[in-house]
């Protein structure tokens, strides 16, 4: 079970959260001005990277607030969590310590 650091509450287990998919996809200010192809991209196209991705999380069984997180999709390590509206932190490498057995 993931341990997620809610920016408002601190570290809580995954069962308290709900993932809302990729972050930083702003809803267009004037949707009617957006063409069909671009609107289709906004609705359905996501990057699905192998590595660090910014995604939205809701602390539903907690403070009830949405926030953003950087998660490594390979290791499931959370690199950072940050409040809605803040820019994506400039961190791409997992910072969680991974000691070696060598």
């Amino acid at each position: 079970m993931l341990l997620i650091d809610c920016p408002y509450c601190g570290k809580r287990p995954e069962v308290e959260f709900h993932c809302g998919g990729e972050a930083h996809i702003a809803r267009p200010e004037t949707p009617t001005a957006v063409g069909d192809a671009d609107w289709g991209s906004f609705l359905y196209y996501r990057t699905n990277p192998k590595g660090v991705q910014a995604e939205r999380w809701l602390h539903g069984h907690g403070c009830g607030r949405w926030f953003n997180a950087l998660r490594d999709t390979v290791s499931d390590a959370f690199v950072a969590t940050y409040e809605m509206g803040k820019p994506r932190p400039d961190r791409d490498a997992a910072t969680a310590s991974t000691p070696s057995n060598a």
Binding site: M1, L3, P31, S75, M84, S97, T98, N101, A102
Partner: protein, 994 residues
């Protein structure tokens, strides 16, 4: 049974506390500290079960949780009645105590005489993939004939047939360092990690006491003292530290994300004096800052003909029984080995008075100091020898051995008489938990083993589980993993082995049974066959032969199976790969996993305030989302059909009363509430006056219908929103999402009020009459209180939000009162209603009534691909609002394309035929298969008010096809139906729309 094989002294048993267990109905004696396995050996009995497939006699192979053969059914509390028995307990880890009742498994009529053993003779038939190849046809024989027979003949223990009567508990724990395994490495790691008193350390071990392999050792010294004194000292030091928790009998079985480790602690099984009500097991969910894995290693069996005969054991296990439990596994021991460590067993057995000889696969030149040590002790060593086969049936009686020539030829055979064999094919690090943590394994050729490579989490492995075997190094390695340093001087261990997959033999390899996986009866022959048939991936070989798939998960067998496959394919072992290790490490009871969450706590039932009345009045209930709702209220002799017909008629002729408390309710409050509602719903809200209600439709951003419900404007800045029963949580989440992430500038608060208000619906021509006597401050007349309005006031003296709304088409009110008053108000209204023919109705009648007047249910008519226009509800979609969630998507090309599936009615040609909901609709039933489906039935009922069946359906371009005949699938074929408008009943009198 007495204890003829008990040594006169020694062992970690308490001879002052004798005890007895019941084994297959007989009395088995021992002492505190024994396991059932050590008691069996003390009594001279090795036969402890019959094998899975061939019903071969099986003995005790090991002394730990890796035991594949000696599986017992154990009744832990026979004196307390049924419900305390479980199967497949490993005799080697069942701690003995008075009152245990244990039985061997998989035999009939008895362990000694087992009819099923005929399978052993028929074994040429039962080759790998036998079931797949044999029981293919006729298809219908599988369920009735093949599977029941196979399940009876093959298998392990019998599942319990009564509910588990025990109690289980659980707890969460946090620590800085979790150490798994309390052998020398684990103890050293815990000592080092806990030296800093601010660090919380948990040390867990599956055994009954800390010490690991040192508990089997009577000769090793550490810093000049016997190893057991070092263990006692380490445990005393840890015990004295406030920051350390030591958990014996606690198996870490699962290593999950972010250092979440699940462990099960056995609390009471070993206690004869356990008070009733004491939990049997406790599930620990530990979140650790760092994890040190000191899980040790498993000894490999050797693969030769009849290597499964009782009396043939792993070498270290023979040593453990000799030293820890002070029992002799026999009088005449042959140690067969390709590993140096087995020489310790030989030396200890010799010292214990057994007659001992050694057969070593290795040449003398390849041996280490252990060879001279054995010679010095006067033990005969046959190096460069192989075992051709074991003799005996229910107990080994001898080994046929022979020298191996330089070219691999088999020399002259000799028979060594014996009643016990100690075998060792080397060691396999226990990397299960490391692998579960998603760490990457690395193959070490020197060690002939997979060892931890790159870590994926904050974790380290120490000691034998990463291939460090020498005692001095093991302790130093553990201390280092714990963040400290120790440099003890310990007795040098005999380490090193020469990997052998199958012992050389001149016997016909296609005929002999040399077991690789003991628990699932997989032989070397089976694995060869699988590879020959083209199964080259180890994952495929595993599934085809079932090697490594039993309850022991191949702890003893995996490396031999892998090596054998690699050898046949002539590939290096890492190229064959290893199978995936998955939780649990050892079997875990369901009881421990669910803890108290069983029976009524398994999935708590959510009940409305009016539920007690419904129950007292004979309601039949159904689950709706998490709720329990009254489905109908049958009178004596009525079935559902009759009850629903009566309830629906009563609503249209008199009045019905319905518990609508489960409706989701959200209060939207704030200066920007109306603007927020404008953006979230398709409807326009700005012009809705205070006191007005409107049916609201909510879309997802993709334009498809998400939820619906009546919304009331209680004040300029306050809306009372209702949602579908099942939709309440997701609608709340949907609203919060937009409010927090897209429109944080809006000054709005959302509050769930579902649980705060009980909702009593009064529906039917007499509804006003029922309500009238109890309302003093609200004018109920049509002129003052028209349809789709809301008023606040008092009902029965209770604060009330009174809605004039209808989900039946009839005159209707929905009485919202604080939940605590719900039942009282309901009872008062019901009593008054007796004068007016009031009838309680349930969800089934509610569904029929709404379908009669063509109202949709989101989630029944819709499936996430339905637009407002598909439902004929485009009138609810504002044309003038610049934006709302889903608006832009409604003009995407496919959303406005012709031919979309539309909501229509379906009337069967035979009026009383009720279609199946979900049934497919076609134009021509004679067309070739696959047919073109043009739609499906979404709702279907017998309607007594309409005097016939009615159905709603989504049909391609349905609204253009009204009046046309289509065909609907039924269990018997097709039936004819005519497409109609989706409104079936004309409400007479004062209707909802009046």
């Amino acid at each position: 049974m007495s204890q003829p094989f008990r040594r006169p002294s020694g062992g970690r048993i308490d001879r002052s506390r004798p005890l007895a267990v019941t084994f297959n109905g007989k009395r088995l004696e021992g002492f505190a500290g024994d396991t059932v396995a050590s008691m069996l050996i003390a009594s001279g009995q090795h036969l402890a079960g019959r094998s899975f497939k061939y019903h071969r006699p099986r003995g005790i192979l090991s002394h730990g949780s890796d035991e594949p053969s000696a599986l017992l059914s154990v009744d832990w509390r026979a004196d307390r009645g049924p419900g305390y028995r479980d199967p497949n307990n490993r005799a080697s880890v069942v701690e003995a105590r008075d009152g245990l009742v244990v039985n061997t498994q998989n035999h009939w009529p008895s362990l000694e005489t087992d009819i099923g053993a005929v399978n052993d003779l028929l074994s040429p038939v039962f080759v790998a993939g036998f079931y797949y190849k044999t029981f293919m046809w006729p298809r219908k024989f599988w369920d009735r004939v093949y599977e029941p027979v196979i399940r009876k003949a093959a298998g392990l223990g019998e599942a319990p047939d009564v509910k588990d009567a025990d109690r289980y508990s659980n707890r969460h724990a946090h620590c800085d360092v979790l150490v798994v395994g309390a052998g020398p490495a684990g103890l050293a790691a815990a000592l080092a990690a806990s030296a800093d008193g601010t660090k919380r350390v948990i040390l867990a071990d599956e055994g009954s006491e800390p010490g690991g392999a040192l508990l089997n050792d009577t000769t090793a010294t550490i810093d000049g003292r016997p190893a057991k004194e070092w263990v006692a000292g380490a445990v005393a030091t840890l015990d004295a530290r406030e920051n350390v928790v030591i958990l014996p009998r606690t198996t870490a079985f699962g290593y999950y994300n972010h250092n979440h480790v699940c462990m099960v602690e056995r609390i009471s099984d070993h206690r004869a004096d356990a008070p009733e009500g004491l939990a049997r097991e406790r599930l620990w969910q530990v979140r650790a800052g760092e994890v040190v894995l000191a899980t040790g290693s498993h000894e490999r069996p050797l693969v030769f003909e009849n290597n499964d005969r009782p009396g043939i054991m792993l070498a270290e296990s023979v040593r453990a029984y000799l030293n820890r439990w002070a029992v002799l596994p026999g009088n005449e021991l042959v140690v067969v080995t390709s590993s140096a460590s087995a020489y310790r067993t030989a030396l200890d057995a010799k010292a214990a008075g057994m007659r001992v000889s050694i057969v070593d696969i290795r040449l003398e030149a390849d041996c280490g100091p252990e060879f001279a040590a054995a010679k010095d002790a006067g033990i005969t060593v046959r190096s460069g020898h192989t075992v051709i086969r074991a003799l005996g049936k229910k107990r080994v009686t001898g080994l046929v051995v022979s020298p191996i020539g330089r070219d691999g030829t088999i020399g002259e055979k000799t028979t060594l008489a014996c009643d016990c064999v100690a075998m060792s094919g080397g060691w396999t690090p226990s990397v299960h938990l490391f692998s579960q943590s998603r760490g990457k394994l690395r193959f070490d050729v020197e060690l002939d083993a997979f060892v931890p490579g790159t870590s994926a989490q904050a974790e380290r492995s120490a000691g034998a589980c990463r291939g460090v075997y020498d005692l001095t190094e093991v302790i130093a390695d553990g201390a280092k993993a714990g963040g400290g340093e120790l440099a003890p001087e310990a007795t040098a261990s005999f380490t090193g082995f020469q990997p052998v997959r199958v012992l050389p033999t001149d016997a016909d390899a296609s005929k002999v049974k040399a077991f690789v996986d003991f628990q699932n009866d997989v032989t070397a022959k089976d694995i060869r066959l699988a590879v020959r048939e083209g199964f080259e991936s180890i994952e495929h070989v595993k599934r085809y032969t079932t090697t490594g798939m039993a309850t022991d998960q191949g702890k003893t067998s995996n490396m031999n199976a892998l090596g054998l496959v690699a050898g046949i394919l002539d590939r290096p072992l890492p190229a064959v790969g290893t199978t995936t290790f998955r939780p649990p490490y050892t079997p875990v009871s369901f009881g421990a996993l669910i803890g108290p969450a069983r029976d009524e706590l398994f999935d708590p039932v959510r009940k409305t305030p009016i539920d007690p009345w419904a129950e007292a009045n004979g309601a039949v209930f159904e689950p709706v989302a998490l709720w329990r709702r009254a489905k109908y209220f049958p009178r004596v002799g009525e079935d559902m059909h009759a009850a629903v017909a009566r309830e629906t008629r009563a609503v249209r002729t008199h009045v019905g009363i319905f518990d609508a408390s489960t409706l989701g309710k959200i209060e939207v409050i704030g200066p920007d509430a109306a603007e927020f509602m404008n953006r979230i719903y398709t409807n326009a809200w700005t012009k809705l006056k205070t006191g007005g209600c409107r049916y609201g439709l909510m879309l997802r951003e993709d334009g498809f219908v998400y939820d619906d419900g009546v919304v009331a404007r209680l004040a300029e800045d306050r809306f009372h929103v209702t949602t579908t029963t099942g939709g309440a949580p997701r609608v709340m989440r949907h609203m919060e999402d937009y409010l927090q992430t897209e429109w944080p500038d809006l000054d709005v608060f959302l509050t769930s009020i579902t649980e705060q208000w009980a909702v009593i619906a009064l529906q039917g021509p007499n509804a006003r009459k029922v309500l009238d006597p109890f309302v003093t401050d609200i004018d109920l007349t049509e002129a003052a209180f028209p349809h789709m309005t809301v008023k606040t006031g008092y009902v029965c003296g209770v604060p009330c939000r009174l809605f004039r709304v209808s989900f039946t088409g009839e005159l209707g009110f929905e009485v919202n009162v604080p939940a605590d008053y719900g039942e009282a108000v309901w009872k008062t209204l019901y009593e008054e209603g007796q004068k007016h023919g009031i009838t309680p109705y349930g969800t089934e009648a509610m569904h029929v009534l709404r379908a009669e007047v063509g109202y949709v249910v989101v989630g029944q008519e819709t499936d996430g691909t339905v637009t407002p226009d598909d439902l004929g509800l485009s009138g609810l979609v504002s044309k003038v609002k610049p934006d709302f969630v889903g608006k832009r998507s409604l003009t995407r090309p496919d959303m406005i394309a012709a031919g979309r599936r539309q909501l229509v009615g379906l009337l069967t040609k035979t009026p009383d035929e009720v279609l199946d909901e979900g049934a497919q609709v076609v134009d021509d039933p004679a067309q070739p298969i696959p047919m073109k489906m043009i739609g499906h039935v979404t709702s279907s009922y017998a309607s007594s008010n309409c005097g016939r069946s009615i159905a709603m359906a989504m049909i391609d371009a349905g609204r253009e096809r009204i009046g046309e005949t289509v065909f609907v699938t039924t269990p018997a074929g097709f039936t004819e139906a005519v497409i109609s408008n989706a409104v079936f009943y004309d409400v007479k009198g004062e209707t909802a729309d009046a």
